[in-house]
Assembly symmetry: C2
Homo-oligomer: 447 residues x 2
């Protein structure tokens, strides 16, 4: 029962509507605290997702509550703050309204911080059969799928089928792909053999496929090399300069140097690309052709559209040193949000705006226990020390003392016991159901 | 793709098939360790559920991983043990096989430990509109429903509708009903007002309805009285000698002394009854008319059916002091399982069997922080001390050091902060979908 208007009290002060409770959205709310504006945050979930650790939920290392944080709880005692649990359908820049499943909402200033979504590059087979990993629900689905497939492996005498159930093909050698490949290999080496003594888990294969010549392209070649060494040590099969062009649910068709190949595996994780999650309502000229991101100027303004801004993954700010926009990572989102909060204040007070300048704080990825690579500015670390830095930084970045404690205990426990304790198939997962619901546009519901 | 036979290796020793990984099933597996038998455990979930704390998952106090435990992990290094993640459809006592969704399985000895399920006494309206609380999935659904309804309350200007969204009607004054009523009242008093400053949460009502004259009928009148005092202190509305005869999703129709009444609330939790979860395949004479439990003799044997046993909630052993069978609680299940393991050994070695004698260890329930009642034998405790006993006993009963630690941290955190941290709507919950799936017989999938 959609209502005419989304009900938010009118405070007779400028209303800033923010779409999306990701890193950018939260930072913006924080930076706008005690400003003379009404802040309305819209999100399809009632929690913030700490995406960097989703792969640990998928591999039974953590439960969602450790990496997700209720948005309302975050902004207790924030004056002039309103959260609405709603799905944005469209933006009407003429009427200055956001259209949601709960009705329309007027804005004075609109900030689109709707992040990014998985990009299947139009391949429906892959979209249907593969598993993306961008949301809490997807991470739980992946966990269920991999455990279900091991249970199924027990029930077939056909050895090829059995291998297919046990094999993983990860497409995309970015941090998600690398960390997932590492975590799955640790499951293979330490956890699954004890859980499934009846299966020859040594036969389980983890393939990591990348279109480029190396993993972690964002890092230095040196760090890539270390990461690759770690991955090989864990038994991951690496495939470079290789494209996955099709997948039928059992066999992935690959292309390398024009030659077709095949990879057998019922578990294919697609981390090969993301695109901006730009809402409807902008005319084509405002959206990048490749990547579906919203074009903004150095003030994160959508030019030619009054009082509309975009920040984070969904924004594409083409600057000399970033001709295709900034990398779609949390630090960019947070820095843009911090600046935009200041600029909004300037705008309201008729002052001039400051342009955005990205401070690259570095980058890191972990492959497994005692195995990580970290680059901070020019300094590079690897191995145990880097791994501790990685854990330290991630625990610090988590919101809330409780979540920090829960994650710490889980990691400490898993470290001592080579264990992943959350091996629960909470809901049987079926691709048919997922498709059905996704076709109904209810992706958020799928679990 | 159902197979002809469920694939389990033939060890040429007696095969004991156990249906259900509840308290009885697990205890049986443990007690049969290092016996000369093959143990095959079947369960529709790959984890054991610690049901006494489900209500805390439902009220955002705990995540499932804290109260559920992977069955395979439990029985690492058990020889001759096999787990099959499968749904039992029927038992064929003639052929001595269990029919499952994965195929048929031969048994030499069969132990039915399939527990109990919610009993709606044939009322389809209540079955469709109310929320039961017997499984992990149901507890997550209840959590989602209550949070969704609060979000919806924000979006209606109709004050009656708004109240309906905020109101809770709990039917059944047993431990589950009492503990749930207490937990919901604490949410009302400490958590929801900060989360929803826009709502007048004081208007939220928690009703506890029972057909009898008091709560916790299993305990002494003195303990009931204390529990009632605690509940009233927390603001729970108590309705005794009252039946809920119908519910349309918004208004519950009650009957007291022949008079009809109404209770407004979009959240109705049905904890008014359970019935045995007896599988198909027994002839009517073996099943109790009321309660759907399997009739067994004092050795937990199903008389007239060779080598078939039932233990725990699903078993009804009519003895002089228990003319309607034992109470459907964990201690009975565990004690019966321990004895049956011994008796199976005797049976195999042609020795005579020992009859079952229930040792009542007492009973307890908590209403909220510092509020609990405990009865151990003749001794009764209440208040803070009872509450600590309750927490101590429950943490000790949890399986695994990690789960104990996780629960302890969560409780400690919630105690200090009057908080419930897991307020995540992981998947939007719809009754239509639940019905759809339940009608397809896929209750386990519903989330």
């Amino acid at each position: 029962m959609v209502q005419a208007t989304l009900d938010v009290p009118d405070l007779h002060i400028p209303r800033v509507v923010i779409i999306g409770g990701g890193f950018a959205g939260l930072e913006l709310v924080r930076s706008l605290k005690s400003q003379e504006v009404q802040v309305v945050l819209l999100d399809r979930n009632n929690y913030h997702t700490f995406q960097p650790l989703l792969y640990q939920v998928a591999t039974a290392g953590l439960e969602p509550d450790a990496i997700a944080f209720p948005i309302r709880k975050l902004f207790h005692n924030y004056e002039n703050f309103y959260f609405r649990y709603s799905v944005v359908q469209e933006i009407d820049t003429q009427q200055k309204e956001v259209v949601t499943n709960l009705g329309k909402l007027k804005y004075d200033y609109l900030v689109v911080a709707s992040g990014s979504r998985t990009n299947f590059f139009g391949n429906e087979n892959i979209r249907y059969h593969s598993m993306p990993l961008k949301t809490v629900v997807q991470s739980l689905q992946l966990r269920s799928l991999l455990l279900q497939n091991f249970e199924k492996a027990l029930q077939t005498k056909d050895l090829t089928k059995r291998e297919a159930y046990m094999n993983f093909v990860i497409v995309g050698g970015g941090p998600t792909g690398v960390e997932l490949a590492g975590a799955l290999s640790e499951l293979k080496n330490y956890v699954l053999p004890v859980d499934y003594p009846e299966l020859d888990v040594r036969k389980m294969q983890v393939h990591l496929v990348d279109a480029g010549p190396r993993v972690l392209a964002a890092l230095s070649e040196e760090s890539s090399a270390s990461a690759e060494r770690y991955l090989k040590k864990l038994g991951v099969h690496l495939h470079f300069n290789t494209l996955v062009k099709d997948y039928d649910g059992t066999t992935a068709i690959t292309i390398k140097d024009g030659e077709e190949g095949q990879l057998l595996g019922r578990n294919l994780i697609w981390s090969a690309g993301v695109e901006g999650n730009a809402p409807k309502g902008f005319d084509a000229s405002k959206i990048t052709e490749r990547g579906n991101r919203i074009l903004v100027n150095e003030f994160n303004q959508v030019e030619g559209v009054q009082n509309v801004f975009a920040v984070g993954d969904v924004a594409c700010m083409k600057l000399e040193d970033f001709p295709n926009g900034h990398p779609m990572v949390a630090p960019v989102a947070i820095q843009q949000a911090t600046l935009l909060a200041k600029n909004l204040k300037c705008l309201i007070n008729g002052k001039s705006l400051k342009p955005f300048k990205y401070q690259n704080k570095g980058s890191m990825a972990t492959v497994g226990k005692n195995k990580a690579v970290v680059e901070i500015g020019k300094t590079r670390f690897k191995g145990v020390f880097a791994w501790f830095i990685w854990m330290f930084v991630h625990i610090l970045s988590l919101i809330g003392l409780r979540n920090k404690a829960i994650v710490f205990i889980n990691w400490f426990w898993n470290y001592l016991n080579y264990d992943r304790s959350n091996r629960l198939i909470i809901s049987r997962f079926s691709k048919e159901e997922r498709k059905e619901k996704r076709d109904k546009g209810k992706a958020g519901v799928v679990i």
